[in-house]
């Protein structure tokens, strides 16, 4: 339906509404141009690049340990995903075996991060809907996860857990910590079900989100949307099925059918119990042994790639090693394709739903701004 509405010649439409770069409706700076006809959005254009800090350039030539901890500063929401993937590249390039206990603890951290990222999405979504009470409720549940993250990593946001060959000694899980994580998971499971019940049974919210911002399955595949944005259109694709670290765990891939804001919200709500399920399995079968493998030697390596599934989709890191230093570093975050897809999701809907349609993919502009456009003069 959306393809017919999309116009190619922007000059035909005279009314243009521009938001940004700094706008009160958007927390992060980005620029949206909406081409409007009779209050219906006919075309949308999202411009990124305002936050560009050139972090790949800074990584160039740094020692690999330092570069790994720098990748954590790409994003404050999915910081663990970045450092994990960056460390995986080095481990793959040099050929380091990671102890099984360290793998399990990395998975536990990643799933805790998925919990807090999805809850942040629900809170932000509720705020954009205009329902601040729901946002406060979700922030209250999220605080449980933040306390667990602080207990394990020592910091609420940037908790560098992974190092090359294993995890930091501080992040070792003992009996007391395991007990606390179990208690936290019980609280989250109970509270999130209660929240989901309230959310789904609220007729006003359901009327606001159903059928808004539809992205068809064909479009989502063509535009290479990833993560829950793709799964909410009915495609069963999750990179965790193919990752070595997730082999021992049983979990379901959540899919929804409609591709609208409701499907996106429900997909993430239902992924929260799956994440707690994985954490419980990891705690039950946590293997004994050491947490870091220190018997490895630095060596040169060609460009090595690594893909992992993070809360927002597929994350890509690659670099080559030269004298223990990082060269040719490339980072590709999931938001870049998801934001591109959202230009199509906003089309054909009312102008008041445009902001909601854009934030439905959980956009993270600070992750995204690393592409450099080379202009020919």
């Amino acid at each position: 339906m959306n393809e017919d509405n999309k116009i190619t010649d922007k000059k035909v439409i005279e009314t243009e509404i521009t938001m940004g770069t700094v706008h009160s409706a958007a927390i992060e700076p980005y620029r949206v141009r909406l081409f409007v006809e009779d209050e219906i959005v006919r075309d949308a254009e999202i411009t990124i690049g305002i936050n560009h800090r050139g972090i790949e350039r800074i990584m160039e030539g740094l020692p690999v340990e330092k570069a790994n901890s720098l990748t954590e500063k790409i994003c404050g929401i999915c910081s663990n995903s970045h450092i994990w993937n960056s460390v995986l590249v080095a481990e793959k390039a040099i050929g380091i075996d990671v102890p099984e206990r360290a793998q399990y603890i990395r998975v536990i951290m990643e799933e805790l991060e998925r919990l807090h990222s999805h809850m942040l999405y629900l809170a932000h979504g509720s705020e954009v809907l205009g329902h601040e009470t729901f946002a406060m409720r979700v922030f209250y549940i999220r605080e449980t996860v933040m306390e667990l993250l602080r207990m394990i990593g020592g910091n609420r946001v940037q908790y560098g857990v992974s190092i090359i060959g294993g995890i930091r000694p501080r992040c070792e899980l003992d009996e007391m910590r395991i007990q606390k994580i179990r208690e936290g998971m019980d609280i989250i499971d109970e509270k999130i079900l209660e929240f989901a019940d309230r959310f789904v049974s609220d007729p006003m919210i359901m009327a606001r989100v159903t059928g808004v911002g539809i992205l068809s399955q064909k479009q989502a595949i063509e535009l290479a949307a990833t993560g829950p944005t793709l799964r909410s259109t009915g495609v069963e694709l999750d990179l965790r099925r193919e990752m070595e670290a997730y082999d021992p765990f049983e979990f379901d891939i959540i899919t929804q059918d409609d591709g609208d804001v409701k499907s996106n919200l429900l997909c993430r709500v239902l992924e929260i119990p799956e994440a707690t399920k994985i954490i419980r399995q990891a705690l039950d079968h946590l293997p004994d042994g050491k947490i870091t493998n220190r018997s490895w030697e630095m060596q040169d390596a060609p460009i090595t790639k690594s893909y992992i599934e993070v809360p927002r989709g597929k994350l890509y890191h690659s670099y080559s090693l030269e004298d223990g230093r990082v060269r040719n570093s490339i980072v590709r975050t999931p938001s870049i394709t998801n934001i591109g897809a959202m230009q199509y999701a906003a089309v054909g809907h009312h102008i008041t739903d445009a902001q909601l349609a854009i934030v439905q993919c959980d956009p993270c502009f600070t992750c995204t701004d690393r592409a450099i456009q080379i202009i020919k003069i």
């Binding site: 770069t21 700094v22 927390i27 992060e28 560009h52 800090r53 404050g76 929401i77 910081s79 609420r156």
Partner: protein, 148 residues
């Protein structure tokens, strides 16, 4: 007592500006005001996105080149008296994005914040903790309340 100072003694409005950090500080600040655990709203501190309503400007991030001009415009739009809080390591000294070069000038970063607009209170941390934000806001209060 003017009408404005009367109303201000009962409600402080904080505006958050994001200038290219990693999002960690921003979420902690929103968390500090919205989350029922910290709940700055009980002390009559409110979050606003409109510079003309704001009393305190909280700036996070190292101020990228593209964000320099909007930041100055936002600062000028806030009515006097006003206070500026720089929150987080990036806003204080450019963080990893600037200082990792040493003294070599960065092509992407225009900051830190106090190079661009005057800063009244500084809150350290990577990322800032919600408790520290509250104490930073409290440190800036005399500037607002004692102003004529």
């Amino acid at each position: 007592m003017s009408l404005k100072s009367y109303s201000r003694a009962r409600a402080i409005h904080v505006m958050l500006v994001y200038t290219g950090g990693c999002n960690g500080c921003d979420i902690e600040i929103v968390n500090c005001i919205f989350s029922p655990k910290y709940d700055a709203e009980q002390y009559k501190v409110f979050l606003t996105w409109n510079p003309r309503e704001a009393d305190i400007l909280v700036v996070t991030g190292p101020v990228t080149k593209h964000n320099e001009k909007p930041l100055i415009e936002i600062y000028n739009a806030i009515p006097e008296p006003k206070a500026v809080i720089a929150a987080g390591a990036c806003a204080l000294m450019g963080g990893v994005y600037k200082n990792i070069h040493g003294d070599i000038p960065s092509e992407e970063i225009a900051g830190p914040v106090d190079k661009i607009i005057p800063v009244d209170a500084k809150v350290p941390g990577c990322a800032v903790r919600p408790e520290d934000i509250l104490s930073g806001v409290v440190a800036a209060l005399p500037l607002l309340l004692n102003a004529k």
